[in-house]
């Protein structure tokens, strides 16, 4: 009899309890609590990068005791497994369930493009601390009023890099980059600047993201190139230089910043010595602020910080600045974006401020991989030594905003490969 009752009503009862329970368990927001959601891959192929990202932010929080000028920070980290659809679902959970006032993070450009509409749909601030997809703060910016970027655009460091390449006397370069938006934009920026000062990109190769076996591609490199430009991410960065060296290719190698990022550098060997890349950060940046940052991070987490950590650390710093001005009160999404855009700060990567499209303007460093001792460490290690600095580089470089926005977004076919034979 009882079992029949349970059978008939049990399911309904359970479901009811579940629903009620879940709705009650919402975060009852205290006025002085700041709930920040953070999305990063904690599992899967980019798991380590995700950890670097959240560690960067967490380190700043620990420094200020989790207190932003009176607001208690509740930092909620969610795993997006490196997949955009999962990022969307977790963002929804953070916003609807945890009632975060803002969410930060995402790693890949595709994740950035997936999260931006969520911010518009649910009217919540999204700080893109890593996703570098150009258009989020360029041609698509109008669609995403709640998005603000504290990281970089993919093409940003590569415009000055292209100029630098001309200065070195390179005339013909082969480009090989991961086949997705980030790859296209990095190469695109480089190509535009390089070809504007007389260089020629003579070949473009696009291995799929996640390729580890470059056997099919390396033999196709044009033999008369002066240098090779590569953009590798994650495990690709580890395997490509080795295979390049094994194939006997001795040409100079230029790379997008992530190719020699500090998170892969410790696992690399002599095959990357002398490789040059461009980014808004290097752990080897010899400023007092950065030295302190690197030493503290290394002591706490056992590794040299990469830009993944720095960018999120700086983001936390910038948010704190805003809260200092509001004396610890959440000013609402629109006002927060306004105030964050007006921040000018001296950070671990150097001076940073945001342009009127909500993208950072900062130094770009040309770095070379060298084996040396830095910051008083007693071992010879691989570092990205800074060999040239371009100050105050914005996302439009010298091209002017209106002119730049007239051209289409960098893609596989833009700029067109006019000199590809």
């Amino acid at each position: 009899m009882i079992s029949r009752l349970i059978g008939k009503f049990g399911w309904k009862l359970m479901l009811g309890c579940l629903a009620v329970g879940m709705s009650v368990s919402q975060a009852a927001g205290a006025a002085a609590e700041l709930r920040i959601g953070f999305l990063a891959p904690m599992t899967g192929i980019f798991a380590q990068v995700g950890k670097d990202m959240s560690n960067g932010f967490q380190m700043y929080l620990d420094e200020v005791g989790g207190d932003f000028a009176g607001a208690k920070v509740n930092f909620i980290v969610e795993d997006n497994e490196g997949k955009p659809p999962v990022a969307v679902r977790k963002a929804e959970k953070l916003i609807r369930q945890d009632k975060v006032q803002m969410f930060i993070g995402g790693l890949l450009a595709s994740t950035g493009y997936a999260l931006a509409p969520v911010s518009t749909r649910l009217k919540t601030v999204y700080i893109a601390s890593i996703p570098a997809a150009d258009d989020l703060t360029q041609r698509e910016a109008a669609k995403y009023p709640y998005v603000i970027r504290t990281g970089w655009t993919s093409s940003q460091p590569n415009h000055p890099f292209g100029e630098w390449a001309c200065e070195q006397g390179y005339k013909r370069i082969v480009a090989i980059a991961a086949d997705y938006a980030f790859g296209y934009e990095v190469v695109g920026g480089f190509q535009k600047a390089f070809e504007s000062c007389g260089g020629k990109i003579i070949q473009k190769i696009w291995p799929p993201l996640g390729t580890k076996d470059f056997g099919p591609y390396i033999p196709t490199f044009k033999k008369d190139a002066d240098a090779i430009f590569t953009l590798m991410v994650g495990p690709m960065s580890l395997q490509f230089p080795k295979q390049l060296a094994n194939a006997g290719i001795k040409k100079p190698v230029l790379g997008g910043g992530t190719s020699y990022d500090e998170f892969v550098l410790p696992s690399m060997g002599d095959e990357v010595l002398g490789h040059v890349s461009a980014l808004q950060y290097s752990a080897a940046l010899d400023t007092p602020k950065n030295a302190a940052f690197v030493k503290k991070y290394r002591e706490k987490y056992g590794k040299v910080p990469s830009y993944y950590s720095e960018s999120n650390y700086t983001t936390a710093q910038m948010i704190h600045e805003v809260f200092k001005k509001t004396k610890g009160k959440w000013p609402g999404s629109e006002k927060f974006i306004e105030m964050l855009s007006a921040i000018k700060l001296d950070t671990a990567r150097g001076p940073v401020y945001l342009d009127d499209m909500k993208n950072p303007v900062h130094n770009i460093y040309i770095r070379k991989v060298e084996k040396r001792k830095m910051f008083g460490y007693d071992k010879d290690e691989l570092w990205n030594t800074v060999i040239k600095t371009y100050p105050n580089v914005g996302q439009f470089w010298k091209y002017g905003k209106t002119e730049f926005l007239k051209q289409p977004v960098y893609s596989r076919d833009y700029p067109p490969c006019k000199h590809c034979e």
Binding site: P84, P85, Q97, S110, D179, A181
Partner: protein, 330 residues
């Protein structure tokens, strides 16, 4: 579902869901909607696995086709954002069914694990296309959909969309139920049990299996359309092997051959993946554990539990009677 009691329970459950959900927190509403979309996918797989005995590891392909169609129509042709939403639903079903019709020509010749392999391969083909055909599918970036359609009712409202998805789910459940109870459905079960015998009896088993495959594809496409609008983003990640594997688990967990089992399995898996994962970092152990334990100890899935309890009680009852008889004969 064999008994009247089962029917009443299901109706009761559905009513409860319909009534209670709108009052739940906004995140729970979204989760339940996801569960319903997956339930449709799981039920489509149940037709193949549970009723026809064909284990498919490629259902995500039809979800993907429906989803991408919706996304491409919405972004490149501005279609499907008003009343035309219902047309897109029909088109999604059609594209799922057509894809299955094409794939079925390759797949139906195989049985058992070979069928598993070939559906896996076909699913991978769709994934590969989604991933590499940048100009159409946006490649790795996927396609972002515009806000949900409005036609008198605003689907952008979560509760409204929940009602629409719920409605589609109920319609799917009903139509599939009618299908499996029909002579056609019976013959599918016959094929599952003893295909050679069915053939001897004169049934064109190839055709039966093929039709079941196409139908499953159609429902998969429907799930895809609903999924696209729910998630707002369609990407190759949705067509991954793991999605097909999840669908398989949902059916096995819930109970193959029960239709509703797939829906229950879907709810459990969605809960595990999207809710538990936020509370426990080691949720994958739970997922793996659920798989292993279900396989080992619950051959009939969750739906099979009442049956087993009844069975055990019947067994102990008859043992009791045997004892009584023995003592009586003294």
């Amino acid at each position: 579902m064999k008994s009247r009691r089962g029917l009443l329970t299901v109706i009761g459950l559905l009513l409860a869901l319909l009534i209670i959900t709108p009052f739940a927190s906004s995140y729970v509403i979204v989760l339940i909607t996801y569960a319903l979309v997956f339930a449709i996918l799981a039920m489509s797989l149940d037709i193949l696995l549970g009723y026809t005995g064909l284990p498919s590891l490629g259902q995500a392909a039809y979800l993907g086709m429906g989803a991408y169609l919706t996304a491409i129509l919405a972004t490149q042709y501005d279609f499907g954002l008003g009343w035309s939403f219902w047309v897109v639903i029909l088109l999604g079903i059609l594209v799922g069914a057509l894809t299955a019709a094409f794939f079925g020509l390759f797949a139906i010749r195989a049985t058992g694990v070979y069928f598993l392999m070939i559906t896996l391969a076909l699913g991978q083909c769709v994934w590969g296309l989604a991933y590499r055909w940048n100009s159409v599918t946006g490649g790795d970036n996927g396609i972002n959909l515009p806000p949900r359609p409005e036609f008198g009712i605003d689907l952008a409202n979560d509760v409204t969309y929940f009602y629409v998805v719920f409605g589609c789910f109920v319609v799917s459940l009903l139509t599939l139920y009618i299908l499996v109870k029909s002579p056609f459905g019976r013959s599918l079960e016959g094929i599952r049990e003893r295909e050679p015998r069915m053939r001897i009896l004169g049934y064109n088993t190839w055709l039966h299996k093929y039709i079941a495959f196409v139908i499953a594809g159609g429902y998969g496409g429907l799930a895809g359309v609903l999924w696209a609008h729910l998630s707002g983003l369609v990407s190759p990640g949705d067509v991954l092997l793991t999605t097909s594997v999840d669908a398989l688990l949902m059916v096995v967990l819930g109970g193959p051959g029960t239709l509703v089992g797939g829906a229950i399995g879907a709810a459990v898996i969605v809960f595990l993946r999207d809710y538990l994962s936020t509370m426990l970092p080691w949720w994958q152990y739970v997922l793996g554990g659920v798989y292993v334990l279900t396989i080992l100890y619950l051959p009939g899935g969750l739906m099979g539990i009442p049956e087993r309890i009844r069975h055990r009680r019947a067994r102990s009852a008859s043992q009791g009677e045997t004892k009584k008889l023995k003592s009586a004969s003294h």
